[in-house]
Symmetry: C2
Subunit: 310 residues, 2 copies
């Protein structure tokens, strides 16, 4: 699966992924009004609103980017209807040719992890038929439970040609609470997790890179540089660009010398671009055009930094 992502990154010349993390407050009034008129001011109405909002954004940007990363929490908060909007968003993106990274951060053990892997990357068997409930192409996974939690995901990835991004060093201010702990052998915990990701990924190579990637926040460029070396074959999914403070020039060390190896996520900065001063001229009526402009600016920022830096 990583080879398909790389192909799309090369084709679009855009090592970026757009985070589809809709908050109800981002959805312009004209979309919400229509959704509420049809389904009421209910979970169903809200879910319809975020789905229509996503659809407009996807239509406006799909030709520029290789992938999207819907954040399932933003859908889960609208219950069953939200989960339906999540699945519809995934289907729609895939129809538009986009690779979908489900930002689900699941992680459990044994048969439970297997159930998550099945739900998101695999097929569940019901008597003589198989169904793929959420059918993302990649999923993010939490490593706290160790290899027992990861192995079922790796097995499904092998079988179904899917991929993972395992949390290594997250972008948030307190990611250091545990991830930065110095171990007795003078490695940080995130370095150990990175080493494990590199090792686990060896059995899932697809071309020069592994289907087992890692999440490392843009907000930690030094750690990114160290982890890039620890996991040379792992693609790094880099959140924290834009709204969380990361900029293009902070990102060059997340990439390998082949210009590959990282894909940078922006969520709010793209999908809610029309709420920023710099894109306010579009107004809520043309929010999707603001998103397109923000995607173009992000591609230019990152490619500019890469050209200057590598």
């Amino acid at each position: 699966m990583i080879d398909q992502l790389i192909e799309k990154i090369k084709k679009t010349k855009a090592p970026i992924v757009v985070g589809l993390d809709p908050m109800l407050e981002y959805v312009p009034k004209h979309i919400k009004t229509k959704a509420y008129a049809r389904y009421g001011k209910t979970l169903e109405g809200a879910a319809e609103g975020i789905w229509q909002y996503n659809k407009k954004i996807i239509d406006a940007i799909y030709d520029l980017i290789p992938a999207v990363k819907p954040q399932i929490a933003m859908y889960e908060q609208f219950g069953i209807w939200g989960m339906q909007a999540y699945e519809k968003t995934i289907s729609y993106c895939q129809k538009k040719g986009l690779i979908v990274i489900g930002d689900i951060k699941r992680g459990d053990i044994g048969s439970t992890s297997q159930a998550y892997a099945t739900a998101h990357l695999g097929n569940v068997r019901i008597e003589d038929q198989e169904f793929s409930p959420f059918h993302e192409d990649f999923a993010t996974v939490n490593p706290y439970l160790g290899i027992d939690g990861i192995k079922p995901f790796i097995d499904v990835c092998k079988k179904e040609n899917k991929g993972l991004f395992i949390l290594v060093k997250t972008s948030n201010p307190s990611s250091g609470d545990f991830q930065d702990q110095m171990l007795e052998d003078h490695r940080h915990l995130y370095e150990l997790v990175g080493e494990k990701v590199a090792a686990w990924g060896m059995e899932l190579m697809s071309g020069n890179y592994s289907d087992v990637g890692a999440v490392v926040g843009a907000t930690y460029p030094e750690q990114g540089q160290a982890l890039r070396k620890i996991m040379p074959k792992s693609y790094i999914l880099v959140p924290g660009y834009g709204a969380q403070g990361g900029r293009g020039k902070d990102l060059i060390h997340f990439f390998n010398e082949d210009g590959l190896g990282a894909i940078v996520n922006s969520s709010r900065g793209i999908i809610a671009a029309y709420l920023q001063d710099s894109y306010s001229q579009y107004g809520p009526e043309h929010f999707e055009e603001a998103s397109r402009a923000a995607v173009l600016a992000m591609i230019s920022d990152i490619n500019g930094a890469l050209e200057a830096g590598i």
Copy 2:
């Protein structure tokens, strides 16, 4: 919320929780046949099957126990319909007077963690109305992202009188991959996480215990003993009893001297008791009676160990 759980534990004299983690293979044929006849051999049919299976079990055991712990992964694998069965199970258990611990192991950062907390423990506002999508009473949470990931859950718990169980030392064989790492200051990572859980819990005391509890596996009694001392005010949710290998006598050190402080989970051992040799006389037609017998045996095993040990 922990005071309500303690009250129910005292009333039932049963420091146990039944894990509602239905696998399709556990569901007896007569239930599946009926579900498929109505909804087809589909995700909807499978979800109906696990819901009817749960309902029978709950009807048979609700008067014996204080709480249930549905494992959301087992429902998520049946997509939207599975999530609906999850919510129906929660509602039904709450109507029966049971406390519901959502085993969701979510964990993310900032607004995303807030969305999860809202989905599972809180209320989402849609214009002038509020909805509580999954309305569990407690949720399990993954700490890998640090306090940023936990704080939104704590805030929702404060507001809505709910509780958490934070993963500290999980029951699986490879839980040591990261959790057992020895830190530079000669503590294990799980000890540090336990200290943080204790500290985070101080602001959510409800009686002698905190609404912020911890997950520590029955399969690690020594670590359980150490963590019991590190987190004296935190209730410990103990998975790994029965099918995973833990027994009553391994569990006494998870409890405090007041006989409280721990609640032991069994899933497969209860809900699929009829598949075990020792309960095979019930047969698939009376699976729920096998579950009741298994609950009684578990209560007796644990109370026996507690009486002998404390």
